[in-house]
């Protein structure tokens, strides 16, 4: 069974605002019955102020779909429509104290129902802007459709390319076979052949690989260099990384910004470690700086 947070269970077992709002003046219906999730969100909006007075949901779906719907209605009650439009699926997931990667689409469905309901109130037509495919990368919750689109749009050729563009495959790496299968399929459609040995279209490491043993100073400088090269990617997600200390072949780092407290922080650290080892050609362990205290204590003792 899924490892649901207590908050998800709370909203599933005691859902808030279940059922349709009487005298609703906004309705959003989204989902896909073939995927097993569908949601109707009904709102009562005060015309003068555009404040959401009441929100109700009806959901066909699993535990996290029901919990996402329930928490959504709690979040948006009392908001103006413009405020509500700023609610992201991550907000929904955060209010639930996180969702398993396979279940993030439940929070996406919540956000879309909200957008659809607001469009309905304003007499606009809401169009879904993405199609959802089977989940490929469980570390970063990337689905097949997303990977296919990126491969098409950016003429990607290797697994490394896919990781650089979508993050898929950048964590535990167990989805690389599936990513190769997608590359094979898309490249075949383009009349090309997938070659696992092909040079990636994406830029090769900005940092030159190291040959031979390193002095401690060289090692620290090199680590800084690699972190610098990874920084733009982290910052694109609103996060950052800072090198705190290097002891032997262990690098202590602080994950800052959106990276701190992010569920993916452990994955990101694993990714940084992987990159460091590739460039430096030696074993490097990357550890959150918060772990350093323990180590110092041990050494003092």
């Amino acid at each position: 069974m899924w490892d649901y947070s207590d908050k998800v269970k709370e909203h599933f077992f005691n859902p808030k605002n279940a059922g349709a709002v009487v005298d609703a003046n906004a309705t959003g219906e989204v989902g896909s019955i073939s995927c097993g999730d569908a949601l109707r969100l009904t709102l009562k909006v005060e015309d003068e102020t555009e404040v959401i007075l009441e929100a109700g949901f009806q959901t066909f779906g699993c535990g996290s779909a029901i919990a996402s719907s329930s928490v959504l209605t709690e979040i948006i009650k009392g908001m103006t429509l413009d405020e509500a439009l700023k609610v992201t699926n991550q907000d929904i997931a955060d209010h639930l104290e996180g969702l398993p990667p396979e279940k993030m689409h439940c929070s996406v469905m919540g956000r879309e129902a909200l957008q659809a309901a607001i469009a309905n109130y304003r007499g606009e037509e809401w169009k879904d802007d993405h199609e959802e495919g089977a989940l490929v990368c469980k570390c970063f919750a990337i689905d097949a459709v997303m990977i296919e689109e990126m491969v098409w749009a950016n003429k990607l050729r290797t697994v490394e390319d896919v990781t650089n563009f979508t993050k898929a495959g950048g964590g535990c790496a167990s989805c690389h076979e599936d990513i190769e299968a997608i590359l094979e399929k898309v490249l075949a459609e383009k009349g090309e052949k997938f070659d696992p040995e092909a040079a990636p279209v994406t830029k090769k490491p900005v940092v030159a690989e190291v040959k031979g043993p390193l002095t401690n100073l060289q090692r620290i400088k090199k680590i800084e260099e690699v972190l610098e090269s990874l920084r733009p990617t982290l910052m694109a997600d609103g996060g950052d990384v800072e090198l705190v200390e290097v002891i032997g072949n262990t690098a202590y780092v602080n994950m800052t910004g959106a990276c701190s407290g992010c569920q993916m922080a452990a994955m990101t650290i694993a990714g940084i470690q992987q990159r460091l080892m590739e460039v430096m050609g030696e074993f490097i362990k990357v550890v959150p700086a918060s772990e350093m205290k323990k180590l110092v204590n041990i050494e003092v003792a």
Partner: protein, 402 residues
């Protein structure tokens, strides 16, 4: 109330008697069966005994036709890969759309390597069309692999008859009997089945032990080569304790096979009748006339399976579902799709699978809980209004695809 376990097609509790016969093989007779000293001198005898106990349950002619493996999946892979390696010129495989992933994923991989896979469809009751099957049999076919009983619905396929047809056409026949062994009587020596897979943990022995039955004379290539274990047909040091445990479990299964088909079946029937009479808009999936005695798979329309399971779990009841959400995939179970069960029902299928450890009292407990669970979720469903589904549900609620 103690918890009620109705998920025996997923796995079973190990019988106490099975655990008891295993323990000496961890603590005393832990020697390698290939060694010659007193730590090992009882082991070979224990394994031989287990082989005969398995032989008795499946009714094969020789105990040397039993090859111990690590699981049902290994047995399945060994069977299919052996057939194609031994007959490199034959490039076709016949199977069904409702097999376990242990067969389907392997076939998908072989398809990429150039094999032609014939996946026979099933009708709405999960039955195969034998006329279509006959037409597929040819000298191009390396192997037919058809499950004896379906894990989700319990539907039994006519594998004995299908093996006869394959044999007449000179084609090897394998059956994944992981769900059937121990639940229905079988006498393999009277059939033309060449290979059969079974798994220990489905019949009250531990996980991590399986068997491939290999009819004497069937052309064979091992999956694992190495030592002389299992007469060179499956190398690797024997999992002695589990082999002995599986033997004991087979002996017990044979003793209880009548119980399974009378008492266990009566529990299943009572639960099924109670639910379908009490709860509107639900139906049993699969072939009602040809089913395992312990399994019922019921589709509850307009609600979703994982949500049902979470509420059941809260009430102390364990079952499983064919819904997409329980597996993390987007599609509901391939078995439900193959039977053309509508999506609004396929996502709400719940499988209750019994064992000899269940009781009528437990059935009554589930019958008390189930109507409330279904009603709670239907209250939340956009397809439901008051006491019944909304009029013309597919029209009344048409979500934008997201």
């Amino acid at each position: 109330m103690t918890d009620i376990y109705l998920d025996n097609n997923a796995t079973t509790k190990v019988d106490r008697a099975v655990v008891d016969v295993m323990i000496p093989y961890f603590l005393e007779q832990y020697g390698n069966p290939s060694s010659i000293h007193k730590f090992a001198d009882g082991v070979a005898k224990g394994i031989k005994n287990a082989r005969q106990q398995v032989q008795n349950l499946i009714g094969c002619e020789h105990d040397s036709e039993i090859i111990f493996t690590s699981c049902g999946t290994e047995s399945n892979s060994t069977a299919i890969l052996s057939a194609i390696k031994a007959q490199p010129n034959k490039k076709e495989i016949i199977t069904t759309t409702v097999e376990h992933p242990a067969i389907l994923s392997l076939c998908e991989a072989l398809e990429k390597e150039g094999y032609t896979i014939h996946r026979m469809p099933v009708d709405r009751a999960g039955r195969l069309n034998l006329e279509a099957y006959k037409k597929l049999l040819s000298d191009q076919v390396a192997i037919v692999s058809v499950m004896w009983a379906n894990n989700e619905t319990g539907t039994i396929f006519p594998v004995v008859e299908m093996a006869e047809l394959a044999n007449a056409a000179g084609v090897m026949f394998h059956t994944d009997a992981v769900q059937a062994v121990g639940k229905i009587p079988m006498m393999l020596q009277d059939t033309k089945i060449d290979m059969l897979s079974l798994s220990g943990h489905k019949l009250h022995s531990p996980k991590g032990i399986g068997v491939l039955y290999l009819r004497r004379g069937t052309r064979y290539r091992p999956l694992l080569r190495g030592g002389h274990q299992e007469r060179g047909r499956r190398a690797g040091t024997e999992n002695t304790a589990s082999i002995v445990g599986l033997g004991k479990a087979c002996e017990l299964a044979l003793e209880h096979i009548e119980f399974e088909n009378t008492k266990v079946k009566a529990m299943r029937d009572r639960l099924e009748r109670g639910i379908t009479e009490e709860i509107p808009h639900c139906f049993v999936t699969g072939d009602m006339d040809n089913r395992l005695p312990n399994t019922t798979d019921i589709a509850f329309e307009y609600i979703e399976g994982e949500a049902i399971l979470m509420l059941l779990n809260k009430a102390g009841i364990a079952a499983s579902s064919g819904s997409a959400c329980t597996s993390g995939s987007l599609e509901p179970s391939h078995v439900m799709r193959a039977m053309d069960i509508p999506y609004t029902a396929a996502h709400g299928t719940i499988r209750f699978s019994f064992s000899r450890y269940n009781s009528m009292h437990e059935v009554d407990e589930v019958l008390k809980v189930m109507p409330g669970v279904v009603a709670t979720l239907r209250k939340l469903s956009p397809y439901w209004d008051g006491d019944g589904p909304v009029v013309n549900p597919e029209q009344a609620f048409k979500p934008t695809y997201a």
